[in-house]
Symmetry: C2
Subunit: 212 residues, 2 copies
DNA sequence: CTCGATTTTGAGAGTTACTTTCATTTCATG
DNA sequence: CATGAAATGAAAGTAACTCTCAAAATCGAG
């Protein structure tokens, strides 16, 4: 769900003490990411090289690649999928599936925007403007899609690998993806939660009768 | 619609005489493509370099890039979208929209498989196996999506840029994409036309009641 | 056919993302 | 503190893609 949420930037108060090594690792990761965001804001995505990122983050270029396999990943790495999955599982079993989806998606959006609206917008903007970023994001869609398959299967007792479940999941993801593109293309003016609602309406009931 | 059809390989008998220059260009294009297919069959996608392709196609590396902007494009360049668009427009206006889609998609698949089943399968296989190819293919999805928006808008008198139309188009594309992935992952055993039918059923009516 | 304009091609050098290897440093643990 | 494991940096290498410019092929008109 990279396409609608900010990345989780810190480990609030998870486990007791992750050890110095772990903490340093997280710090480095964050340093690289914020350096990248800054540089992109300053000079744009393409003009920003890995070397510049490394320099500003005060690590070596090789370290950058050790943390992120590709440049796009620095912007896009997503740690929310598991959260969404959890929330989806936590919904009451009697709740209609479409309701659960609606609830969880709205919540995911809210989380992302709350945490850091600037990053959220930068990301979706890059998604519209930089083909490589968009590609990478779509790539992550399939992963989210598989996860959704799993969730649908658990909830409704279907085979997660069946064509039907997979098609359902993918069309959902595709639709939501288009929603965030739409949001960004229109300058983030409209309320994303509303857009999500309208999107789910289309997916559930098809196109509405009229469109003035 | 790259993801389900082969590329149009020749200009059957279009216009009277395109001139030597044009004909040579088409030939070069084809040479590059078949060289690429061969090399990939022999050694796999990643192991195949542009230089090798250039050598076998008997052109210079720069020429390869002049014809195709990226390596993935050599495999994936799609010339079917306009055809699909045409066919969609040619359907009678009274026909329900979903019927038109069903008819045209099945036809597109048939065309692709008829023309060259081997290439059709190689493509979908690469789509499953090579991330870069899958990305590039997804990238082309958005283009096809915009086109579909246009078609939906024309047929039903809606705004092609409205959220609803865009979401509808994208979920359709996403679903079909997943269908070809499914087809390839299962070794191309099932009949693609049947899969398409089941896909459209899901998109039109949601997940079926039960799934034994 | 020939000449000049236009287009296509090739050669080569350059940029940059990404990989790989290996020695060095840094941290955890007994 | 000593020993082992993990993180880091330096450096060289690969391959996709870009750019430039000169040579060659094609076309159109006289």
């Amino acid at each position: 769900m990279t396409f609608m949420t900010a990345a989780r930037t810190s480990t609030p108060a998870d486990r007791p003490r992750p050890g110095l090594r772990e903490r340093k690792k997280i710090k480095t990761r964050e340093a690289i990411r914020t350096a990248t965001y800054e540089l992109i804001e300053e000079q744009g995505y393409d003009a920003t090289t890995i070397d510049q990122i490394a320099e500003r983050a005060e690590v070596s270029p090789s370290t950058v690649f050790r943390y992120f396999p590709t440049k796009e990943d620095i912007v896009l790495t997503d740690e929310y999928d598991p959260l969404i999955m959890e929330e989806l599982r936590a919904r009451p079993a009697e709740e209609p599936w479409t309701e659960s989806v609606r609830y969880v998606m709205r919540r995911a959006v809210q989380l992302g925007v709350d945490e850091d609206a600037t990053v959220s917008r930068l990301r979706t903007r890059l998604m519209v403007e930089v083909p490589a970023v968009r590609s990478r994001m779509m790539e992550s869609m399939s992963v989210t899609g598989r996860m959704l398959c799993q969730a649908v299967a658990e909830r409704t007792g279907r085979d997660p690998d069946s064509l039907e479940v997979r098609v359902y999941a993918m069309s959902l993801i595709g639709g939501l993806m288009e929603t965030s593109l739409y949001w960004a293309e229109n300058g983030h003016r409209e309320d994303l939660a509303d857009l999500i609602d309208r999107t789910l309406d289309v997916l559930e009931h098809g196109l509405p009768r009229e469109n003035p």
